[in-house]
Amino acid sequence: MKNLRLNTFHLRKRMRRNVGGCKRFEPQLSAYLDGELTPPRTRALLLHLSGCAGCRDRLHAMERLQGALSRAYATPLPREPQLVSQVMAALAREPYRPTRAAGWRAEWKSARPFAPRFRPALTALAMAGMAAIFWSGYLSQSLPQRGASPTRLAVTPSQASPVASAPTFASSSVPPVVPTAPPAPNASAAASAKITETTPRVSSHPMKKADISHSVPHTSAYRVKRLAPRVERPVRLSHPSAVRVRPFRVAHPSSTTRLPNLPASPLTCDPRLNVTGTAETRDDATNDWTGIPSDSSVKVDQRVRSGQDSLVTVSLGDGIELRMNEKTEMVPVRSPQPDAPYWVVQLVRGELFARVPKGKVGLRVLTVAGDALSKEGELIVRTNELFETRLIVAQGLAALENNGVRIAAVEGLQVSSRMGAAPDAPQPSLDMNHEFQWALAPMPRDEHATKRPG
């Protein structure tokens, strides 16, 4: 053991390392012979060997085995020169060619994206993702401060007007059919005023409270779009599968002359649509369409349904609804007056279906014979198969519709029939062509509020 040359200083210093005995140092003999022990471990082992004869014997035996193994494997083998050419020939027959891309594909295909060689890239990716998340959170928190800049987000009326002045009946000044007519000048002003008015409501979102505090109209283009009033589907639709609905005529009850009858141009409505709109009238002289003001006493609710009579509902007010089809021509004549607390409408032609709820105000339908009004207060009602649901005024071409034929409940109308029976208790034996005589007479104002006729 010529390598066992330690001075006594190190021996004493390392004496405490000589613990564990042969059980600890015996497994290190091979590593010692192979030169794989670190210097401290080597010194500790040599220290142990200096005092352990058994380990020295084991070391010698191991050394002999080591030499035998080295010699056994040291024999050079004869070269096989044909090996390389055989392999190259085999590879030439193989279609596969190694490429870098194939290497990356194979790495990912073998489901080892978290292999150590990818860890730096994955770590960088994760950190970038975390930074992006935090950054976006910071942005959303600091958004009100950024939005307070009026130069960026304030919308001038000129910007807001093209969006807000989309064709709508509520604005009541847009010519949907005649493109030559310019929009009313107050349309944009009204639209911008609407936007300004509704701004606090929309910006009351908790994230946007700063907008209110700064009182800056936070109206980006997106918000203007959202704030714009919902555009109802206009009545006049042109559709390839549209059906024609002849124009119904409605006139303002207070000034029939100012709002003349609608022109003869047909209304085209898609039968599959359930169209809700506000009626418009067109002045024949100026060819301008004018929507009936929403605060008017006459509102027309048009619902055109497929397969039915293309009924258009006209609300007179007071809950009275008249339903007309395309053949109906009707003119509201008079609103309720103190002496006659009922609506008066003139049915020019066509059929009229009316729904009159219980209330203080009734309905009076004038029919015409030719140009002259018919005898006021007389309607000839003929039952049909839909007796339960509606009555059709045959002669006057007017129909009163009420649920359950409760015509007697219509206030303001005094109903009498030739049968002498109230129509709310119809005889089950009525034949289809049975005729009733309805006497439409105004009721005294003090009576009709409390007294039910019939």
């Binding site: 290190q28 035996a61 035998a68 193994l69 040291a74 024999t75 392999v87 190694p98 194979a106």
Partner: protein, 203 residues
């Protein structure tokens, strides 16, 4: 004491293996041929001492190189190419051993020719006298009897003189584990061959 330190340091081959690998990945088959010419003796030796006969060693070497060619795109540049190559080929050899263990009946190295059993006489050791060709055959047989976990570090250590660290990289185990396995393998070999003269001879 350190055998590796005693050996002269060989100059690294030019071009280095890694550059040749990059050329192969760029589409050069000549580069792979150069790689093969450079490493064919070592791989053939590896295959020879795993299989124990020439024919199987030739087949296994060919199989190893074809497999290397297929997986070359997945070469992990963290390893030295030689280490990575021996990692691939050692796994290939172990697979071959496992698949041929049942089919093989004759003991390996029992039919080695005189030439293959020749002992190098340029390495005098403490047991020159007793280490005969028969002793070498028995030693190789004893190594072949070891489990693959213990045979691989012994083979890599004494055949290619890999360090424990490189063996650990090849076998995907820790350095400490290599140390333990080498020692246990030597103990097993010693237990099996302790009656032979060359191991019992006192220095």
């Amino acid at each position: 004491m350190n055998k590796r330190g005693a050996e002269p340091v060989q100059a690294p081959p030019h071009p280095p293996d890694e550059a040749l690998v990059q050329r192969v990945l760029a589409g050069s088959d000549e580069a792979f041929q150069a790689l093969m010419l450079r490493h064919e003796p070592g791989i053939y030796r590896l295959a020879y001492y795993w299989t124990g006969n020439r024919d199987d060693a030739l087949d296994l070497t060919q199989e190893c190189f074809i497999h290397l060619y297929r997986v070359l795109a997945r070469y992990d540049s963290r390893y030295r190419f030689t280490v990575w190559m021996y990692k691939v080929c050692t796994n290939r050899c172990i697979n071959w051993i496992k698949s041929n263990r049942r089919a093989r009946e004759v003991m390996p190295f029992s039919h080695l020719s005189e030439r293959e059993l020749d002992l190098p006489d340029d390495r005098p050791g403490p047991s020159d006298i007793a280490f005969t060709q028969e002793a070498k055959r028995q030693l190789l047989d004893a190594v072949a009897q070891l489990p693959e976990n213990y045979r691989a570090p012994i083979t890599l250590r004494f055949l290619e003189d890999f360090s424990y660290k490189e063996i650990a990289a090849i076998m995907d185990i820790s350095v400490k584990n290599v140390e333990i396995r080498v020692h246990r393998a030597k103990k097993m070999l010693h237990e099996q061959l302790k009656n032979h003269l060359y191991l019992n001879e006192k220095p």
